[in-house]
Symmetry: C2
Subunit: 350 residues, 2 copies
DNA sequence: ATGAAAGCGCTAACAG
DNA sequence: CTGTTAGCGCTTTCAT
């Protein structure tokens, strides 16, 4: 513009004011080693000139990038974006920036990102995966701290921040029990997932605490985490001798399939059979009846992940647990009611 | 490790090989000015030493960051993540990295990000907003190219990549017409949104092309883009004289509300009334019947945004349109059928 | 095909 | 409170 073609640097400012670059640098960063009046002059001229810090130069010098990376396994998954939201909230507060890469379920792409980002001098990395069950050992030998968000790292060397599914399974089951249900069926997700075994353990614990008998005939596992599987298992379950008064599904999608089967059998939800889901996906508000479910604490998991990572970066890494569990909460909608209210009867208040 | 505490730089390599740093630098970048054998030696030692380029130093020197920024208005919106996926696909191919910031619907936060990221020497920026209707003039006076993704920038100086809602409105309406429907009701989203006026224009165009009369009594606007509004409008519509045989809703959520109203009135979807939504949200597959809808081309919008931005960065900015529209497609599910099939009758094949 | 030297813009001793 | 100096790690003329 009015200045030369040259970039505007602290040197431009120092020249204009007859100061040294170091003083300008200090003033800009708010060092107490600079007279208030001087700072003001510097700030004014900086604005006048349209000066902007060159953060490459700064980072080169200080060896601090103030950047962390997020690598996702699948950004398409609706859980992922809520976790990212949580991460972003705390990085923004702590003046960190986020470099984002999508692994796309492709191991090579993940590795390439990891290497490229380390060259970018990132100070830490959060890996968000919602399905992974394999150890990703290339995250182990990095020079920077790594956190696994949502999924288990499967190694104590990388902290995992995950939902407390044991607690979730417990509160969902307890809710049904308190509604008077005793014959509760469980249509869990596929066996072999931590999410499944934890939710199951929580349900079992609730049964124990309330002195109910665990009936294996009412416990099922879906082949997949989807409605088709839930539908299939529910249909099969309903063809047997004992019919439950309530069903706890492994996740919301399974629950939708369960409700399909129930509808097909002419059973009313919730009057004949209550249904509880898990995750609190967007669909819960749009299926009819609206689905009561356990909310996954995704934003909170993101926040926690970022907090732990940043503490780690700043050396406060005493007492970091290998696994941090974050509790969700029960979201009560319209798919459950007290035992004793049959079809055609009036629903109880609340 | 076995080396000193010092960082491993090209200098470390050059020492070990008795070469100059410049040669090492060239070798590393695959310059043709270096003998093949020399390159191999350099590469081997680099690997041995665990060398990683310091991209700050490189960027400081070359003045190219190879970073673009994404600022979102609301990452929580399920559209946003699909757009990001599209952007990421093309940046990854072109060796750009993404710095991500969430504006959170907070103008100040957005501005702060913009400034901070410019200091990071980002080469371009994509702003993803799904609701914005105000001009964000602070994106105008930047030294770097900016693209608005999904929403209108409202100024020709910033290219907008948006869904072709005129086309979408057209194909949805045409589909219903071809199914034999003539008395089609429209429960659009709130007036004042481009998405609304475009979809409406598309529908009108289809009516013209097929010589149907546009009946104002069958056209409604919701107060909000949600099911409650859809429900309300549908209920009111159904209380009037003329009952439509099909309803085109402003988006999927409105469609869910419409279907609620229909169910309440004892009308069967699709046998009594067909319903078409818009957006292709996840819910479409989980409501019953599954909702036929127009898919928003979100990944494609993301890709297009990134392509245009990168071209822009590389100076290929001749012929960049102020507005680029990307076409979606009709996703046929179970909520529509040919006129003439009444309740209790058998559904037609396919 | 390789090397020497300078410098990108900033910060951090050190000196005063 | 301010200035001098050096150097972060890399690329890039300019020589050879």
């Amino acid at each position: 513009m009015d200045k030369n073609e040259k970039n505007i640097t602290i040197y431009s400012i120092s020249q204009k004011l007859g100061l040294s670059p170091s003083t300008v640098s200090r003033a800009l960063r708010g060092s107490p080693l600079v007279r208030e009046e001087t700072r003001k002059r510097v700030l004014r001229v900086a604005k006048e000139l349209g000066y902007a810090t060159n953060s490459f130069a700064r980072s080169l010098r200080t060896k601090k990038s103030h950047i962390i990376a997020i690598i996702t396994e699948d950004i398409t998954n609706p859980f992922t974006s809520l976790i990212i939201k949580g991460i972003e909230e705390v990085t923004a507060k702590n003046n960190y920036h986020i470099i984002y890469g999508n692994g796309d379920g492709n191991l090579n792409k993940e590795k390439r990102y990891l290497n490229a980002l380390i060259q970018r001098q990132i100070e830490g990395l959060i890996y968000i995966s919602t399905v992974s069950r394999e150890i990703k050992d290339f995250y182990l030998n990095t020079s920077i701290p790594v956190i696994f968000s949502y999924s288990y790292s499967l190694t104590p060397d990388i902290p995992s921040i995950i939902p407390d599914d044991l607690y979730g399974g417990y509160i969902a089951t307890e809710y049904l029990i308190k509604l008077g249900h005793k014959r509760i069926a469980f249509i869990f997700g596929p066996a072999g997932y931590k999410a499944t075994t934890d939710r199951l353990a929580g349900s079992k614990k609730a049964f124990e605490d309330y002195n109910l008998d665990w009936d294996h005939r009412l416990v099922r596992h879906c082949k997949e985490w989807d409605s088709a599987s839930g539908y299939k298992e529910a249909l099969d379950l309903l063809s047997k001798d004992i019919i439950p008064t309530a069903i706890f599904a492994g996740n919301d999608l399974i629950a939708v399939g369960v409700m399909d089967a129930l509808r097909e059998k002419g059973l009313n939800v919730p009057k004949d059979i209550s249904v509880v889901g898990y995750d609190d996906r967007e669909v819960c508000g749009y299926v009819r009846p609206k689905l009561t479910t356990v909310r996954l604490p995704l934003v909170e998991i993101g926040k926690k992940s970022a907090e732990i990572l940043i503490n780690h970066i700043n050396g406060k890494n005493e007492g970091i647990e290998a696994i941090t569990r974050v509790k969700g909460e029960l979201i009560i909608r319209d798919s459950c009611c007290s035992l004793g209210f049959k079809s055609k009867e009036v629903m109880p208040e609340k």
